[in-house]
Symmetry: C2
Subunit: 219 residues, 2 copies
Amino acid sequence: MLTQSEENYLKCIYHLSSKSNGAINTNAIADSLETKAASVTDMIQKLANKGLASYVKYKGVNLTNKGEKEALKVVRKHRLWEVFLVKELGFNWDKVHDIAEQLEHIKSTTLIDKLDKFLAYPKFDPHGDPIPDANGEIAPNPTTTLSILKPGDVCTVICAKDTSSDLLLFLDRINISLGTQLEVVDYLEFDGSYSVKVDNGNPITLSTKVAENIFIDKL
Amino acid sequence: MLTQSEENYLKCIYHLSSKSNGAINTNAIADSLETKAASVTDMIQKLANKGLASYVKYKGVNLTNKGEKEALKVVRKHRLWEVFLVKELGFNWDKVHDIAEQLEHIKSTTLIDKLDKFLAYPKFDPHGDPIPDANGEIAPNPTTTLSILKPGDVCTVICAKDTSSDLLLFLDRINISLGTQLEVVDYLEFDGSYSVKVDNGNPITLSTKVAENIFIDKL
DNA sequence: TATTATTTTTAGTCTTATCTAAATTTATAT
DNA sequence: ATATAAATTTAGATAAGACTAAAAATAATA
Ligand SMILES: [Mn+2]
Ligand SMILES: [Mn+2]
Ligand SMILES: [Mn+2]
Ligand SMILES: [Mn+2]
């Protein structure tokens, strides 16, 4: 049985792997988990010994099939609990990540399958991230961000990067949520900012950084 | 902040204290938590140092007000989660204890208060045990068991001791649940068994041990 | 290519929570 | 009252997971 710490590492490696290709660096994991590189090395070796990761000294780590399967179970739990917290308990979307970070470690397959059913088998979490099903099947992660759009382009918001409460509260403030329609009216080369109409309202300015954190479907 | 283990010990001492008066023995805690006496001594000393328990060497331990308050928070969480698992997710009452044993350690006061509201502020858990409110107020534990009744007595089932899945499944099988009306029709001195009508049906036999594990309201 | 800088690993320490075995205290029974 | 039994505590060991500091390997640069 996996410990809480092992689960956190597996999920972290899974996430990093889906953002880049090739092996994952020790330091990237350490940054992501806010721990030290030495601790990461220890854990990587442990995961490799358990057949959950393939690891070559100094070259980085990758999940094995077995490891990815376990990681997906944790992701599934995390995202289903997030749906529960927002849809059923009325939490705002910026408050649920930390709580789901704990709930994702509750051991019970029956529990999570019943929760899935209770929530009517949601396909996406409150931030727009896809939820793996009971077999570990998961829709592809969104890839296109607002930042690739040109003036005149119209899109729908489908996902926000869910780690930062700052970003989510900012989106709340400017009335952007999942499904919101955006139109890019201008791009300012000088600072990389975008002028964007939210639901055909008056244009507002979004920084590059914000634009890179909003996943969209281009229309 | 309390660790999971500290919370388990506090809850355990709280439960033992409510069943007996005076200080709680080291061995009683060890038995209840399925651990060793030496481990219990260590933890008791730790809890005493944190001001959560009062402890006299060789004489046993009691919770301080502060310790009891913390224990009640854990009990509240445990029982609210049990209600959720049974009422919302459709678990049978014999399956929820172990899962609640994990869920009770999730840290978030907001979460538990929202869950409480979501469940419409239940006063009792699926086993009939009282649920502490947000201020730590809790109804008295049931005290009267079926075993004190005499032939001719009629009662309502209000609570089952929730630790044993064996007992709960047995009660399911003989159609006893919370609220069920029972009538004692006979008591057999020889083996201490009771003959009982369940909802005015045909009498069935219950052992002393079962009778001692069913809390009732005498009518 | 040689030298420096960065990354990663190893070695050794710390904390929490266990355990076993031994010592000590308290309870029980002659 | 004394001896024995039971309960409890202490001492010392172990395992997981984290840390710091030092060593080793890899990458970047002159
Ligand atoms: Mn987590
Ligand atoms: Mn999310
Ligand atoms: Mn517990
Ligand atoms: Mn219960």
